[in-house]
């Protein structure tokens, strides 16, 4: 038996699915493969993944894909052209700018917001949550009270007030959304940490003389990551919607940046006659946040089969 096990071709299906991995690498790849197979069974989740990959692709190659300049329009010849005009597939706005090109470039801003918020908020939540859950006692009480305070504010309203104080702009909008996004992550990481705080492997590490710092960093945090990733992915849609809402209110990205929410706001003035100017960016927001929701649902089902279908 063992002779056949070791002779499996690396990275083949059998090698990945083997229940007797011979190396740590094989075990890791094998687990990832199983998760992927569960994920790939879900057609909607695959669609979500495709949408997000599409977003990344479009953001990377906006310069090549966009037929026109996103900022400078042709005011003389192409003001408020309807859908399907020659050369302007999705029409143009009041400044004669091609809406399609603006949407393509706008994907970069959307991606920027989502990535930066995740990079800022997820680690804060992870640190606060794991420290709180592992330490317990007064540290836990204090950190959780602070978390509760931030949870008590509705996200959009707190972000509004913050941006109002800091001044409008995409950087401040990102900062405000990040400040309002971390508390749920802290809650999740804490709950997760509490479930294995008293388990034997932690005691074993402790016996070996690991410092609390090392235990949290090397042994607790990695175990919290998967549920955190799911939650962050599911939150992405909300982040995009909040950013678009701030943009719509004129507090996010400033003109002439092609931010989707701000584009809706500028199209609002002539929505009765040239509805597509405001409608198209909305579709873009809808599709991308739908993509993140589908991806997040699929990830949750794949990583946590207990919850699947609930």
């Amino acid at each position: 038996m063992s002779a056949t096990e070791t002779s499996l071709k690396p990275y083949s299906r059998e090698w990945l699915l083997s229940d007797r991995p011979t190396s740590r690498r094989q075990a890791r790849f094998g687990r990832a493969y199983i998760v992927w197979r569960r994920f790939a069974e879900n057609r909607l989740a695959l669609m979500g993944l495709a949408i997000i990959l599409g977003l990344i692709f479009v953001a990377a190659f906006a310069g090549v894909l966009a037929p026109h300049d996103p900022v400078v329009g042709d005011l003389r010849n192409s003001r408020l052209l309807p859908l399907g005009s020659p050369g302007y597939l999705l029409g143009t706005d009041d400044q004669g700018r091609d809406i399609l090109s603006r949407l393509l470039y706008g994907s970069r801003l959307t991606l920027l917001v989502v990535v930066l918020v995740a990079i800022i908020a997820a680690p804060i939540g992870l640190i606060v949550g794991t420290v709180s859950g592992y330490a317990g006692g007064w540290i836990d009480a204090v950190l959780m009270r602070i978390t509760d305070i931030f949870l008590a504010f509705p996200k959009l309203v707190l972000a509004l007030a913050l941006v109002a104080a800091l001044g409008p702009g995409i950087e401040n909008a990102i900062l405000a959304i990040a400040v309002t996004s971390w508390p749920p992550y802290a809650r999740i990481a804490r709950a997760e940490t509490m479930t294995f705080r008293n388990s034997e492997f932690i005691s074993a590490v402790k016996l070996m003389g690991a410092s609390p710092f090392r235990i949290v960093l090397r042994h607790v945090m990695p175990l919290c990551i998967s549920s955190l990733i799911v939650r962050v992915t599911l939150d992405m849609a909300g982040i995009i919607l909040t950013a678009a809402g701030l943009g719509f209110l004129g507090l996010g990205a400033q003109p002439p940046l092609p931010e989707w929410g701000a584009m809706i706001a500028s199209g609002r003035r002539f929505i009765l006659d040239q509805w597509w100017v405001a409608a198209m960016p909305g579709f873009a927001i809808l599709i991308v946040s739908l993509g993140f929701n589908l991806l997040g649902d699929g990830l949750r089902d794949a990583l946590d089969p207990k919850e699947a279908g609930q």
């Binding site: 009270r145 602070i146 509760d148 305070i149 931030f150 949870l151 008590a152 504010f153 509705p154 996200k155 959009l156 309203v157 707190l158 509004l160 007030a161 913050l162 109002a164 104080a165 800091l166 001044g167 749920p184 809650r187 999740i188 709950a191 939150d235 849609a237 909300g238 919607l241 678009a244 809402g245 719509f248 209110l249 004129g250 507090l251 929410g261 809706i264 609002r268 929505i271 009765l272 509805w275 405001a278 409608a279 960016p281 909305g282 927001i285 809808l286 946040s289 739908l290 993140f292 929701n293 589908l294 649902d297 279908g309 609930q310």
Partner: protein, 355 residues
């Protein structure tokens, strides 16, 4: 809008509080610290504004001694912690400062506009519950069927669509094209003074005074924003109902009821839904709180004279007192609703009562 799904589970854990007194005490501490925290946050935001409040009042060409005197009058020369104590005292006694825009005390303004927001959120929650719960039950009972898929897609779109955009498009369709609903606003100017607001819920006021014509006009105004918020509430409520019902339907008492020969209808609507109803109350309360937040963008689209429109209007006019006052009030209401739903949960679920 993000919707907290974990809070229901944490609530369930929380009910294992050891004794009633300890839980009441813990409760009080939570409320006090949260309110205190809200004050710290709004105070802090108010202090980091790049606009100097003194220069905003006296103008930037005022002589130095005038600037200094105003600074002292406003208490801005004091150390920060003293300023915070003053701020807390004022806020707790209901003084949220004066709005630059309306030159009224902020609290008075908020009292005036808040019922409009509540009316809208109430209608939205009603629509969301009345439609969302049956849809969620249907999806759970027919798990995996076409009906389940449709409910899921409706919910997913609700989670993914920008509310202000949907509002704009529905205005184009239902107001501009079909003429089914009235122009944005709360009531036509013709009817504005033909009834006396008492509760602040205009629909209720008009009904109580028998003003049916006014009521029809009010209905034509609230229909669209109410339906829109109702949709968002529905997305959340139906999803949670489905999840709770799936949980209940897999319990052993359902098997027992089936073995006893009860009809499926009876099992679903009387036994399972009744048990799922307890966490659902929490969900409905949370959804109400979320609609208060969702109303910020909805109100700007529909010119609905509520707290959301008040905050965004003040924002556009750099009226920070009003913005922060509004933020504080919404935060406090949020805390209030959470406490309320928590208490309701404890009363409705006999298992949470301490023996």
């Amino acid at each position: 809008m993000t919707l907290p799904e974990t809070s229901v589970a944490t609530r369930r854990n929380r009910r294992r509080a050891s004794s009633a007194l300890a839980s009441v005490l813990r409760f009080a501490v939570t409320v006090v610290t949260t309110i205190f925290g809200l004050l710290v946050v709004t105070f802090f935001i108010g202090r980091v504004i790049p606009i100097d409040p003194v220069l905003a009042i006296v103008g930037d060409r005022a002589p130095a001694h005038l600037v200094e005197r105003t600074r002292i009058e406003l208490g801005l020369n004091l150390p920060l912690y003293q300023q915070f104590v003053i701020y807390t005292k004022q806020a707790l006694s209901g003084d949220l400062g004066t709005s630059v825009l309306t030159s009224n005390p902020v609290l008075e303004d908020i009292k005036r506009v808040f019922p409009a927001t509540m009316e809208l959120a109430t209608i939205g929650t009603l629509i969301g519950s009345v439609l969302g719960i049956p849809l969620g039950v249907l999806a759970a009972v027919r798990r995996g069927s076409i009906a389940d898929q449709i409910v899921r897609v409706i919910g997913l779109i609700g989670y993914s669509v920008p509310i202000f955009w949907l509002g704009l498009l529905s205005l184009v369709l239902f107001y501009a094209q079909l003429r089914w609903v009235a122009f944005p606003g709360r009531v036509d100017i013709v009817y504005e003074y033909s009834f006396t607001p008492q509760t602040g819920f205009y629909l209720l006021d008009a009904a109580m005074q028998g003003q049916w014509e006014v009521m029809w006009d009010l209905f034509r105004h609230i229909a669209l924003p109410g339906a829109l918020l109702g949709y968002f509430s529905l997305a959340y409520i139906s999803r949670m109902t489905r999840s709770f019902m799936l949980n209940e339907l897999s319990q052993e008492y359902v098997v027992a009821a089936r073995a006893k020969g009860l009809s499926e209808t009876r099992i679903i609507w009387f036994h399972a839904l009744r048990n799922a109803g307890v966490p659902l109350v929490t969900v409905i309360a949370l959804s109400y709180a979320n609609l208060l937040e969702g109303s910020v963008l909805t109100e700007t689209i529909f010119s609905w004279p509520g707290l959301g429109l008040y905050i965004t209007n003040s924002l556009q006019n750099a009226d920070m007192n009003a913005v922060l006052g509004g933020t504080l009030v919404i935060g406090a209401v949020f805390v209030g609703i959470n406490i309320f739903s928590d208490l309701l949960y404890r009363t409705l679920d006999p298992r949470t009562r301490s023996r």
